[in-house]
């Protein structure tokens, strides 16, 4: 099992606009690392880079202290997006897609899909049309789809934005369960959620890491003034 995902001095700009400025962080297995920050802080860009879905302009990504290419990174990780993207077809088709493209034998696919759907309380949803589900149910399908391929690194972007408490609870339980056996990085601007779920919290502000602490210290003894303001809901 991989034990550590590390970003070293990662920078990314779009059309000259700096989205990430020499960001460094470490995320360990069996712990939930949350990246928090206001909208536009660069959280999604950072997650996409950690998932191997975006090229960085500068810096490197390391797994267990070994530098890794973008392609190799993509083969070890998967990402759940804020907007759940359902492919046409049933819930089963969606969850099974990752297994099919990774060459899992069809007799194993069924049991793995069932197991993943159970994790997100969607047993018996296999035959439902994925695009006709509620947004909360779609997000749970997206989580199941990511869990079922059993990647060592799971990156989750704003998993419960605009979801009701029932769906939020189910997703949070699935996240906690998933984190036991992998490196899990979560992006959120929901501070109570970060507090509930995380072991480590990283505050990203205008593309830079300004605080990286254990969850308790982050919320009770922030070092940076901007973090204190953010925690108090006063940061613009």
């Amino acid at each position: 099992m991989m034990s550590c995902l590390e970003a070293r001095s990662v920078s990314k700009s779009y059309d000259g606009l700096m989205a990430l400025d020499h960001v460094s962080l470490k995320a360990n297995a069996s712990r939930i690392t949350s990246i928090v920050g206001v909208n536009g802080a660069g959280k999604t860009t950072l997650l996409k880079i950690l998932a191997g879905l975006e090229e960085m302009n500068d810096g490197s990504i390391l797994i267990d202290s070994n530098e890794i290419s973008v392609d190799a990174l993509r083969s070890h990780s998967t990402m759940v997006f804020q907007k759940s993207i359902m492919i046409g077809g049933t819930v089963y088709d969606n969850v099974a897609y990752g297994l099919r493209v990774n060459g899992v034998q069809s007799q194993h696919i069924k049991e793995k899909v069932r197991g993943a759907l159970d994790t997100v309380n969607l047993a018996n949803f296999e035959k439902r049309k994925a695009r006709k589900l509620s947004s909360g149910e779609q997000q749970r399908v997206a989580i199941a789809r990511a869990l079922v391929i059993e990647r060592e690194i799971l990156l989750i972007d704003e998993p419960t934005a605009n979801l009701d408490p029932a769906n939020t609870t189910i997703i949070e339980e699935a996240i906690k369960s998933a984190a036991r056996s992998r490196i899990l990085v979560l992006s959120t601007h929901n501070l109570p959620q970060a507090k509930r779920l995380s072991h480590q919290v990283i505050h990203l502000y205008r593309g830079s890491v300004i605080e990286d602490r254990d969850v308790e210290d982050f919320f009770t003894r922030p070092r940076d003034e901007k973090t204190r303001l953010f925690v108090n809901g006063e940061l613009q």
Binding site: F81, I85, I87, G88, G98, V101, R145
Partner: protein, 132 residues
């Protein structure tokens, strides 16, 4: 000229722009995030393209149906390149034109109804299949 192959070639040239424009439009309408999703789930470049094509499949089917309907109801190409030779290059549209010219209006109307029925049946089948 004046062979079934000439008609086929002419119809192909006629419908190619329809197929290309409808298919391009269908592919462009697929959510770009589908590509990103496929990549993060481990799909190769080819598998990603296949998924995008699958997502656009009804647009592609629509392109084929539109092209078929266009070609099926086309008179000019069949008449010019086929010559409307009995048992060789006579098709429904050229037969309708011939019967109309000969003044056999009931037969030309009957043939027109057959043509319309085929086109409409095909469209209804596709529409029903899409709803399932």
């Amino acid at each position: 000229m004046y062979t079934p192959y000439a008609i086929i070639l002419g119809q192909c040239i006629l419908v190619t722009p329809i197929i290309v424009s409808f298919t391009t439009s269908a592919l462009e309408s697929v959510d770009p995030d589908v590509r990103v999703l496929a990549r993060t789930l481990g799909a190769s470049g080819f598998q990603t393209d296949a998924l995008v094509l699958r997502e656009a499949r009804w647009g592609v089917v629509l392109a084929v149906i539109a092209a078929f309907n266009r070609a099926f109801a086309e008179l000019g190409v069949a008449m010019m390149l086929g010559g409307n030779i009995r048992n060789v290059t006579r098709v429904l549209t050229t037969a309708i034109a011939l019967q109309t010219a000969m003044g056999d209006i009931p037969l030309s109307i009957a043939l027109s109804i057959i043509l319309l029925s085929i086109v409409m049946t095909l469209s209804i089948i596709v529409s029903l299949a899409r709803k399932r």
